[in-house]
Symmetry: C2
Subunit: 485 residues, 2 copies
C-alpha cells in the first residue's frame, strides 16, 4: 500500500484493527466479574499487571490498548447522587488516572500503542498538551488521545462546576480546545527547531519557535508550547460521540471512532453519516476508522463457549450494571418494579433502548430491570458474541459487511483471560481468513504508522485539519501562516 | 531505631539522605553542558534514559530521584517576555511533565523513590489527587510531591491567569489546597474500605467511603476521592519555600525541605527557624529533613577534580545561566554593563546576593554579570564543591555541622557522570565515615519508610497535621471526625 493510496483516499484492504478495551479499574464493562477466580482486573493498581497485559497484547500483535476513563462515580441509579451501588460492586470505581501507566508499558514493548481518554472540560489545554507530548515522547510516538467532554455530573461537581456545562456548549468548548491543542502541537515549533548545534551553542533555534497567541472565547494561551515536537506531534485522535454535535466534531477531528451497539444495524447509519460528514470536511471516507465494541466469549466448541458464558454470568453484578447504565444514559431504572416490563413503560428512551435489545437478543420473554442488568453485566452496551473462533470471526465479518466497521474494541469479561482467548483462539482464525496481519506493519513504529499501515505516516494525514497547523521544516517564521479559527 | 524513637522525636543518628536532583529537560542547573561529550541529559525525551538513571541510583542506594519542574519559560532576562536566551541555551527549555516517567522507573526498581514538583495553582485538587494517588499505587508507595505555587508569570499566562496570583495569596490558596488533598487522601476512604468480599459481592464497603464536602474560599469538592487508599495515602511531602509565607507552610506540612545557598551560613538561620516553627505546630524539630542543593565535582586528586571543573565550565552557557537567574529572582541583569561591578549597583537585592557570593567564593576581583553567569552555570544557586571524595565529604560534614542539614540534593554538571562519580567515589568515602547506609533500611519499602528509616512508617507521622485527617480501620463513619480547617 503506497502513501499515494492513503493520501488519495483509496480504501486499503480491510485488515482489521484490534484494540484491547480496558480502564484503570476493576471490571470495566463487566461489573462483578472481579469475583471470578480467573479475573485479575482488581490488580489494576499494580504496574506489573499492566506491563504483563501489554506484553501479552504485543505478542498477539494487537494494534493498541485503549484505556477508558471517567472522573466521577456512577451515581444516577437509586440516586440522585447515590454512589453505593457502584462502590459496592466496583462498577468503574475506584478508578485511577490512565496516562500515568502508559510510559511504563511502552518501556516494556516496542510496537503496541496506547490510547487514553482525557476530558477537555477539566484541564487547561496548555497543561494537557504538555502531558500528552511528554507521553508521546516517552512512548516513541505510540500514544492516542480519546477526546471526551465528560458526561458525569459527579465529575463536574468535583472539578469546579456545579454541573456539566450543557451538551452543545461542551462541544463548543471542545472545538476551541482542540484548536489550541493543534496550535501547541503543530504550529508552535518548527519541525527542525531543535538543532543541537554544539559549535554555535544553539540547542533550539529561537527563530523556529513561536508564540501561538491564542485568544478565544474560553481560553487565552500565548504559548509557545513547552515541549519540542514529539514523534507524532498530535497524538492519534480518538473519539466516541454519536450525538449531533459529537458527530460533527468526530467527523472533522477523529482518526478512530469507538462505536457500540448490540447489532451492526444500530450503528451502520451513524457510521455512514460520519464518513460522509468527514468528506464534507475535505477528508476521505476511510480516513476515519470505526472500532466496534465487542466482548467475545470464545470456546473451542459452541458448548464450551456457552458454558464459559454461563460460568461468567453467574458472577455478573446486576446492581453494578444498572449503576453503569444510569451513568451512561442518565436513566435511573430503580424507579421500576422488579417485574415491570420495560418495553411498556412511559419513557420513550427506555422503551426504544429495550426494544432494540429485544430484537438483537431474541428469546427473552420479559425485559425487566433485572434482565437488563444481567444483559449489561458482560460487555456493557457493546455486543457480546459467544461461540467458536469461527462463529466469532463470522460475526466480526458480519459487522464489517453490515456496518462498515474497520475493527474492534475488545472488551473483556475476565482479564486477561478474554484477551488470551482472542490471542490463542480468535486471531489464528482471523489470520486464516486474511483478516489480520502477521506482524505490525511498522515494527517499532508510531501509533499512526501502524494504524494507517504506512511507514513514515507518524504525523496526521495531509487532509486532516491538524495538518493545516503544522510548521514544517524550512519554512521561515514570517512565511508561516496558521489557519483562521 | 524504634518507632517510639521517631514518634517521640528523638533525633536519629545522622545518616545522610541523598537525593538526585534532575528535571525533565536538558541541563537543569547547568545550562550549556549539553554540549559536553559526556552529557546525556539531552536524551530526556527517552524513557530508557530515565530507567537507566533510576537503576544507577538504586545500585548506589540513593534515597530518591527528585524531578523539578516549571510550567513556563525563563523570560525575564533581556525581557520582559523574552524567551530567546533560554530557548537558545536550553535553560530548562523545553521541559516535559515529570509524573509521567515515574511509574516506568518504578517498574525497573524496587527501593528507589521518586519526588516530583507539581504546582497547586493550575490544576483542580480533585484531579491532582487522582494523579498522585495513581502514581503512589503504581510505585508501591514510592512517590513524593514537591508542593509549589509557581513563580513564573510565563506559566500563569498560559494557564488561565494574566499573571501569578500575588505571593501571599498563592500561599492562602496552597493552604486550602493541601487541606483538600488531605481530605481526599486521608479521610475519604477508611483504611479497610476495600474488602473484596466475594461471598457477599462487596468490593468496597460503601459505609467506609465518605464524601468530604469541602466548601472553601477557592475550592468546592464534595468527593469522595476516586482512588482507594494507596500505600502512603499522602505522598511524602516536599517543599522549597523560604519566604515568610513559605516557611509557615513548610513548617506545618513539609517532610523534606530543599534549601540552597552558596554556604551553610546562608541557610542555617532559616533551617533553625523552620524547625522551631515546626515545633509550634506540634511537630518535632527533626520531623522535617533539610536537603541542601549541592553540585559535587569529584576527582581522585584535587588536581583531577579541578581539571574536571575547568573542562566542564568551558561548556557553561552564561546567557542561559542569566536567563535562569532572571526567572528565579525576577531580576534582569542585562540592564547592567558588561564590566559593571554588581556589588556597587543601586539594587539592594542584587548587591546583597552578589556580596554573599563574594564571601562564599573569595578570590574573584570583580563581580560582573559575566562572573555571575559563569558562577551559576554549574550548579545554579546551590553550592558547587570541587575536590577529592575526602574534600567533598568534609564539605558535606561541614554543612551538617554548621547548618544542621540532613542530606543533600545532588545537582549534576553532566548526566549521568556526576551521579556516577557520587556512586563510585563519594559514597564509599561517606560509608567509611558512617555517614551513609549500606543498603535501604526497608528494601522494597515506601518512600516514607526509607526516608524516616522505619519499617511500617508508610503513612505520615502521628504528629503531622495530615494524620489528623486519617480515617483509620475500624472507626465507624458516624464516629469519624475531620479536624476543622
Amino acid at each position: 500500500m503506497a502513501t499515494e493510496a492513503i493520501q488519495s483516499g483509496e480504501q486499503p484492504k480491510k485488515s482489521l484493527i484490534l484494540n484491547a478495551f480496558v480502564e484503570m479499574c476493576s471490571g470495566h464493562q463487566s461489573p462483578g466479574l472481579w469475583r471470578h477466580p480467573d479475573d485479575h482486573s482488581k490488580d489494576f493498581n499494580s504496574v506489573d499487571h499492566w506491563i504483563e497485559l501489554a506484553k501479552l497484547l504485543e505478542r498477539a500483535k494487537f494494534h493498541g490498548m485503549f484505556i477508558a476513563d471517567v472522573l466521577g462515580g456512577y451515581d444516577v441509579y437509586k440516586g440522585p447522587h447515590n454512589l453505593e451501588p457502584a462502590i459496592r460492586s466496583a462498577a468503574q470505581w475506584p478508578v485511577n488516572e490512565p496516562l500515568a501507566v502508559i510510559p511504563a508499558m511502552a518501556a516494556a514493548t516496542t510496537s503496541l500503542s496506547f490510547g487514553a481518554t482525557v476530558a477537555v472540560t477539566y484541564e487547561q489545554p496548555f497543561h494537557l498538551a504538555r502531558r500528552l507530548s511528554t507521553v508521546d515522547h516517552l512512548t516513541n510516538g505510540r500514544v492516542g488521545w480519546n477526546i471526551v467532554t465528560g458526561y458525569l455530573d459527579s465529575a463536574a461537581r468535583n472539578l469546579g462546576y456545579t454541573q456539566q456545562p450543557e451538551h452543545d456548549e461542551r462541544y463548543a468548548i471542545a472545538e476551541e480546545y482542540i484548536r489550541v491543542m493543534y496550535k501547541l502541537f503543530e504550529s508552535s515549533w518548527r519541525d527542525d527547531a531543535v538543532v543541537l548545534d554544539k559549535e554555535r551553542g544553539i540547542y533550539t533555534d529561537p527563530s523556529r519557535v513561536r508564540e501561538i497567541n491564542h485568544k478565544g472565547k474560553y481560553y487565552s494561551v500565548p504559548g509557545p508550547h513547552i515541549c519540542q515536537p514529539s514523534p507524532q506531534r498530535t497524538p492519534l485522535l480518538l473519539q466516541a460521540g454519536t450525538s449531533r454535535a459529537g458527530k460533527a466534531f468526530a467527523a472533522q477531528h477523529a482518526e478512530a471512532i469507538f462505536v457500540g451497539g448490540h447489532s451492526p444495524s444500530v450503528i451502520a447509519k451513524n457510521i455512514a453519516e460520519i464518513r460522509s460528514l468527514a468528506e464534507s470536511f475535505g477528508r476521505n471516507r476511510h480516513d476515519v476508522k470505526f472500532l466496534a465494541m465487542m466482548c467475545p466469549i470464545i470456546g473451542k466448541t459452541e458448548e464450551e463457549a456457552r458454558a464459559k458464558y454461563e460460568d461468567y454470568i453467574q458472577y455478573g453484578d446486576i446492581e453494578g450494571a444498572l449503576a453503569l447504565f444510569g451513568g451512561w444514559t442518565g436513566i435511573d431504572l430503580s424507579v421500576y418494579g422488579d417485574d415491570e416490563e420495560l418495553r411498556h413503560v412511559e419513557s420513550n428512551a427506555i422503551r426504544s433502548a429495550v426494544e432494540a435489545w429485544s430484537h438483537a437478543i431474541p428469546g427473552i420473554p420479559r425485559w425487566t430491570k433485572k434482565t437488563v442488568g444481567r444483559h449489561l453485566a458482560i460487555g456493557g452496551l457493546g455486543a457480546t458474541v459467544i461461540g467458536t473462533p469461527a462463529t466469532v470471526a463470522d460475526e466480526f465479518e458480519r459487522w464489517v459487511r453490515e456496518a462498515d466497521v474497520d475493527g474492534f474494541n475488545i472488551a473483556y469479561a475476565v482479564k486477561p483471560g478474554t484477551f488470551v482467548d482472542v490471542a490463542e483462539l480468535l486471531i489464528p482464525e482471523l489470520r486464516r481468513r486474511g483478516l489480520f496481519w502477521d506482524d505490525y506493519k511498522v515494527p517499532g513504529g508510531t501509533y499512526r504508522e501502524n494504524f494507517y499501515g504506512q511507514k513514515g505516516q507518524s504525523r496526521v494525514l495531509d487532509r486532516h485539519i491538524a495538518s493545516k497547523y503544522t510548521w514544517k521544516a524550512g519554512v521561515e517564521k514570517e512565511a508561516f501562516k496558521e489557519p483562521e479559527s
